[in-house]
Amino acid sequence: MSRIWAVARQMIAEGIRMKIALVFLVLIGAVVLGLPFSVAGDSSLTGAVQSFMSYGLSATGFLLGLLTIFMSRSLSDELVHRQIFLVMTKPIQRWQYVVGKWLGITVLNAVFLSCAGLTIYGMVHYIKRTHPPIDERYDEAELNNEVLVARHALPAKLPNFMQDAELEYDRNVEEGMYTDVPGFKPDIEKKRLAKKHESRWRVVGPRDRRIFEFENILWDRTHKNTIQIRYKTEVSQYPPDEIFRAVWRFGDPYKGTPVYDAPVRHVVGRFHTIRVPADAVAEDHTLLAHFYNQNPFEGERQFNNVMEFRASDGVEVLFIVGSFEWNLVRLLILMMCKLVFLAAVSVLMVTVFSFPVACLTAFTVYILAAAGSFLGDALDLESVDFASMFSSAKEFLVQSIMHAYNLLQWIIPDFGRFDAVETFVNGRNVSLVWVLQATTELVLVKSLIVLGLAVLLFHRREVAEVSF
């Protein structure tokens, strides 16, 4: 370990003295310290803090990603300028050298990320103190309850739409509706029917209501505590003032909970949060929430008409499970996991290629990982139809590409799955399970595989052979 640490220390010293790391540190500092003065969000305190944290954390992650790639230049430089001749003739194993380089980058990243995290934390409190309030009491309460917290979110329980679809399908079959349909596929029809039922369920007509049920709300049910309901609705026709009128009712009298009514006048198409006393949750940790589309008349004008809760928005119940500080720590660990993987990739690349090629390749991997889910959807290589478009002669090639893509997709993680910035900025809990998943997948499995490959290739490499 002492030899690995010696290489890592030397790497850190190089990063600092050759000013690569310092340049990035200054950049990160400039971004984090400068953002509060240039980003206003939606002019509310919550908006300002959320915008700052979102841009600040994303920029920090991106810059540290670049730093990680550039820092790997150290190994490349040692090969080009032959300092490695002296190192490799000392009693150090090649794997120790490679791991030392990786450790050096990782430690530097950890230090910088911690500094950035502390600065962001400090700046959040600075904005909180200095941002001009619109409604002083409300602004701070909103910030404290919806952003500077770690809230666990539970979606509303959905009815079994497929069950409804199957019932309807059976009815239709009995009525002989599908007898003359060419190319009829029962599964596709059932999916269509399920989708139809879901669409109907998500729509609340005028004077209609919808019941949302939540389960597993493991939260202290005393009255002084609150839970939050977060939702967003769209309307078929926008009211002139863009405000909808509705009433939420929380609690289940059949389970002995108090019932709370909350008449709301909220802006259409934006997320809203309602705070509800926690004793509305039943003893079996369920919560019943009724939504009434009031569709009131004001004068001669009728406001709401059909309202819709879209699947992408959802209706959630949120309750506080942790502090903002620990949430930030968990977020930073998630970001660190990605950097650890990227450091392994960068080290692997410089063991194979010269720095410009290695840099480009590592950057490509970074982009692929960052845009993993987007690319997967965009390319849609897994679609069966895509393969069947080709003749059998070409199918082999298509299949090969698909296998290669799948392998690549397996090795190159989808960073989007571990991108917790939005979650954190919305005051959601960055769960420990998430952190453990990221640690296992990105650090313990994929980083070690990539690092193992780097060690293997470097072990085989003749360090004194000239390569380009």
Partner: protein, 406 residues
């Protein structure tokens, strides 16, 4: 029967072929090399540029892998960590980290040997003393002149007190004092039983310090053996005696003339210079059309380089020398002279490295031996020569300024 110690280095049928991108053989750098270096030997590896010396050294150090053949160091593979712990290596150029200062450089390499902190610090200071760079120990190595960097290179090669020292062109870039110091170190270490492999173009250096040499050409061994055997001319006889009187000399010559029927001017076994021997070997190899990927005998200087320079430095030097020679007073420096690396090796450190404990520590200037102080020159022509030298040194930057060269 005395059992012979295990060779420090043993190669058998060692070959190295460099290949191109398509794995086609491009250059055969080393061909069927069989070497044996025994404990305590100072072994010279000679050859013109591209003859395979450095490739051989790199294979010995595990920096290159042989295409075929076998290498063993201390009976093990060169990549074995236990073997590396017993080796010190000074490469042909000082491949040091430009951003580390001398102390940190030595400390880093010491850490790789897992030397305890106290020993690292102690050895670093002593080695810096030895190479005369203690006063420059806090400067980044990147600011050092080539010669100073070579000295740090030597220091790092000795940080682990190696049993086997590989020196590739150790005197390149060094001033004569530094070169002499390196030779002194080699001799001292050799005398104390360390095994040394020396690769050098400076044949006089090799001749001075090596016990055995091997000469490579085109990657092949062309000659090998003890220096004294290789350089001995057996077709003539040399007799070394204490000073003889004139009468004895006359009688001796008469006796030889009478007995051998020929005149004799001297009675001796004269040695050819190693340089002559080396060149002969190379010429023979060239005459035999042995292929080499390295440099061959150079041709003429290209025409464009033979054109006279418009503002010749020589003229400037001449005019300045002339001007300075008009001064009649001896020159005194206006500023303190630039600090120089201390020329003498620290005997204390050498002794420590060699395990000699009770040697008194040298303090102050080194002893002058039998040399007498030289009186100041009486006439102005000598002053002029001194002035010439100082002006030229100034123009060329002098030794003290070399440290600013990159």
């Amino acid at each position: 029967m005395v059992e012979r110690a295990l060779p420090v280095v043993q190669t058998a049928g060692l070959c190295k072929t460099f290949r191109d991108f398509w794995r086609r053989p491009r250059v055969e750098a080393v061909k069927d090399l069989n070497l044996e270096i025994h404990p305590g030997e100072v072994f010279g590896l000679l050859g013109p540029n591209g003859s395979g010396k450095t490739t051989t050294i790199k294979m010995l150090l595990g920096l290159l892998y042989p295409t075929s053949g076998r290498i063993s160091l201390f009976g093990k593979a060169p990549t074995d960590v236990a073997v590396k712990a017993r080796i010190g290596f000074l490469p042909e150029e000082s491949y040091l980290y430009r951003f580390l200062v001398a102390h940190e450089t030595l400390d880093y390499y010491g850490r790789l040997f897992r030397l305890p902190s106290r020993i690292r610090r102690d050895r670093s200071e002593r080695l810096l003393d030895m190479v005369g760079l203690r006063h420059e120990a806090r400067r980044p190595v990147g600011e050092y002149s080539k010669g100073m960097a070579r000295r740090i290179g030597l220091a790092q090669a000795l940080i682990n007190d190696p049993e086997f020292l590989i020196l590739d062109e150790p005197t390149s870039g060094l001033d004569p004092i530094g070169a002499r110091q390196i030779k002194d170190v080699i001799r001292e270490l050799g005398n104390k039983g360390k095994t040394i492999l020396l690769s050098s173009h400076v044949l006089a250096d090799v001749e001075d310090v090596c016990d055995r040499v091997t000469i490579l050409y085109g990657g092949q061994q062309r000659a090998a053996g003890d220096i004294s055997d290789l350089l001995c001319q057996r077709d003539v006889t040399q007799i070394t005696t204490p000073p003889l009187s004139e009468e004895t000399m006359v009688e001796l010559k008469a006796l030889i003339r009478r007995l051998e029927q020929r005149d004799v001017l001297s009675v001796s076994h004269p040695r050819v210079k190693l340089e002559d021997f080396f060149l002969r070997i190379v010429e023979e190899a060239q005459a035999a059309n042995i292929r080499t990927s390295g440099a061959r005998r150079g041709g003429q200087v290209p025409e464009f380089l033979q054109k006279p320079t418009e503002t010749a430095t020589h003229d400037v030097v001449e005019s300045l020398v002339e001007a300075s020679s008009r001064k009649t007073q001896p020159l005194t420096p206006l500023e303190p002279p630039p600090r120089r690396a201390r020329p003498e090796p620290s005997r204390e450190v050498l002794d420590e490295l060699l395990g000699r404990k009770d040697t008194p520590i040298l303090r102050g200037p080194p002893p002058m031996g039998d040399l007498e102080p030289v009186p100041p020159p009486a006439d102005h022509s000598n002053i002029k020569k001194a002035a010439d030298r100082s002006v030229i040194d100034d123009l060329l930057g002098g030794d003290g300024r070399k440290k600013h060269e990159k």
